[in-house]
């Protein structure tokens, strides 16, 4: 029983990490129709930056802020100068953002070298929590908490705030929204930056247990892609359900079928796709 709870918690915490990435990706896609595959690169850079900040200051809040905000700035730069030229060209967006991911990967190879790094855990998460007789890292519970809070805030933002309403209006009918005096261009930049911030945050949060190493960027990117395919592109609820599902499947797959660990993630995806091409919560095309 205890082991089951621990497996489930492991799966959920990894799922929450994926949710931070997937929510940004799906938000940007759903609202602006931009495919940003740099999210894996954002994760890696965020984790490396958090690593450096933690070893220097041992202040986790500072790590979150520096990791999140610097990636947000990077996202802002990419949107303003590059992606806004590629309106409605999904393949071009995909290749451009993959190009950026490669550049980031090489840059981090130069700065941080090829050794795997793990971000130091914050001081309040050092002691494990006892579940029955076995200890469970409290940091993972913290990740679950952060993921839940972020999910809630995003939902409130989208559904309950004035800015969120404007964003939905702009997505629904850009021209009318413009005519009503909504600065659509500005709104979209804000959303894009927010998505990048979330990806940076995911790097900081994942740093202590998933780690930062060459190749982690594409690994986590591809998992995130699976999440949003399963959940449905553009749907926040889909991102949440997909993340938890993939997080759990990943964990149980590794436990029960170690050789097929990756395969167990991709197989359910194919089944869902064959049955519902737009994903569990995606809009039918």
């Amino acid at each position: 029983m205890e082991t089951w709870i621990i497996h489930i918690l492991n799966g959920v915490s990894f799922g929450m990490l994926l949710f931070l990435l997937a929510s940004g990706l799906t938000l940007i896609f759903g609202l602006m129709n931009i495919v940003n595959l740099s999210h894996g690169g954002y994760y890696l850079l965020g984790a490396y930056i958090a690593c450096t900040v933690m070893t220097k200051t041992h202040n986790f809040l500072l790590a979150i802020l520096s990791g999140g905000l610097s990636i947000a700035a990077l996202g802002l730069f990419m949107e303003r100068f590059f992606l806004n030229r590629l309106h409605k060209k999904p393949l071009a967006q995909v290749l451009l953002t993959i190009g950026f991911t490669l550049v980031f990967a090489d840059a981090s190879l130069i700065i941080w070298g090829g050794v795997p790094y793990f971000v130091e855990k914050p001081a309040f998460c050092l002691r494990p929590i006892m579940i029955g007789k076995s200890g469970f890292p409290s940091y993972r519970l913290f990740v679950i908490g952060i993921g839940t809070v972020v999910g809630l805030l995003l939902w409130l933002f989208q559904e309950r705030t004035r800015v969120g309403t404007r964003v939905r209006a702009a997505v629904n009918d850009e021209e009318i929204a413009r005519a009503l005096g909504i600065n659509v261009r500005f709104l979209f930049t804000v959303i894009f930056t927010l998505g990048a911030f979330l990806a940076g945050l995911s790097g900081v949060m994942g740093g202590p247990f998933y780690g930062a190493y060459p190749g982690a960027d594409f690994e986590i990117l591809l998992l995130t892609v699976v999440v949003i395919i399963v959940g449905g592109l553009g749907s926040l609820r889909g991102a949440l359900v997909g993340s938890l599902l993939i997080g759990l499947i990943d964990n149980f797959g590794k436990v029960f079928f170690p050789q097929m660990a990756m395969f167990t993630i991709y197989l359910p995806m194919v089944i869902i796709l064959a049955w519902k091409p737009s994903g569990l919560f995606g809009a039918e095309n």
Binding site: L95, I98, G99, L102, I228, L233, Y266
Partner: protein, 330 residues
């Protein structure tokens, strides 16, 4: 007088055809004699790689360039073609023809499954779904360590048996092997794109709903385009596996897919020889970079960015307009 006129007409036409014929002849002679002209084996190696990856990108071009379906899963089909002969050589027999036919069969099978799932979807969803489908194959060869060797891959495909007492070996033989299949695919591609089916593919790329309204079976056309391009990718994988003598998961990876897409776009997607040009440029850059620096990742990343921003029509796409002006009607 009439005979004279006809003769004159013939004379007028003949130099053009002769020139064309001569051009073909010299190109063919150059390709055949290439290993003996170049100063070192290094250039033969490079050319072999160019031929194999051109085969791959030509296959992808049929789908991406002509039908307008951007697949990010073709690396897996290339990988399937590479892994099957490797597995056969490890567990059963290292025979070129058996390896090739089973490799192609596997590529065909997987292409059909991929196509059945992906063809009904278009746009961004198609990109994502092909990407994910490709990852299924990658996950299989990466994860199933006891059979595929996992990350280490499989070695020992060198010198496959081609004839009862003749096995392939030496750089030049692989060059001619790659050249043979490259030319076959070149001819197939030409036949496809000049056929009514090829025009239907372009029609779908330009305006799918109009093609549907005209009574074309769009789904079937896309399905066939996907499978043909998938099998060609698998063929390139088979040759690649025999040429390098080993396979690893990178041969079935996402990077393989995106690199091939990049080659097609750089050369000019939807142009006959574009993929060959794009592949040649990328592989030459790769080789030069490898000599001078370790920063290949950076260069490749910049190549993606710059090509998308400044060369999205590709070399042949940019040349097309000018060539038309230069060569009159051709």
């Amino acid at each position: 007088m009439e005979a004279l006129g006809a003769l004159r007409g013939g004379e007028l036409r003949r130099p053009m055809e002769l020139r064309k014929l001569l051009a073909y002849f010299f190109t063919a002679a150059l390709l055949v004699l290439y290993p003996f002209i170049v100063p070192s084996q290094y250039f033969t190696t490079l050319a072999t790689q160019v031929l194999i990856f051109s085969t791959f990108s030509m296959g992808l071009n049929l789908l991406l360039g002509y039908t307008g379906m951007a697949s990010l899963g073709h690396g897996a089909l290339f990988g399937a073609g590479a892994y099957v002969p490797a597995l056969l050589s490890k567990y059963v027999i290292n025979n070129f023809w058996i390896g090739m036919s089973t490799g192609l069969l596997m590529a065909l099978l997987i292409s059909v499954v991929f196509a059945l799932i992906a063809v009904r979807i278009s746009g961004v969803y198609f990109i994502f779904i092909t990407l994910a489908l490709g990852q299924v194959i990658w996950a299989l060869v990466f994860g199933w360590k006891s059979v595929t060797g996992g990350d280490e891959g499989i070695t020992g495909l060198g010198s496959p048996l081609v004839w009862p007492s003749f096995s392939l070996s030496g750089g030049n033989q692989y060059y001619y092997l790659a050249l043979l299949f490259f030319l076959i695919v070149l001819m197939i591609t030409y036949r496809v794109i000049t056929s009514p089916f090829g025009h239907a593919m372009v029609g779908i790329r330009e305006n799918e709903s109009r093609m549907r309204a005209l009574g074309f079976n769009v789904w079937r056309c896309k399905f066939i385009a996907f499978v043909v391009s998938g099998v060609i990718s698998g063929l390139a994988g088979v040759i690649w596996a025999y040429y390098t003598g080993f396979v690893n998961p990178r041969d079935a990876s996402f990077e393989r897919s995106t690199e091939a897409v990049l080659m097609v776009i750089l050369g000019g997607s939807g142009t006959f020889l574009g993929p060959v040009v794009g592949t040649t440029i990328i592989l030459i850059i790769k080789n030069i970079v490898a000599i001078y620096t370790k920063r290949w990742l950076f260069v490749l990343g910049m190549a993606y960015i710059l090509i998308i921003l400044f060369a999205s029509k590709g070399v042949m796409g940019a040349l097309k307009g000018r060539l038309k002006g230069l060569l009159g009607q051709t």
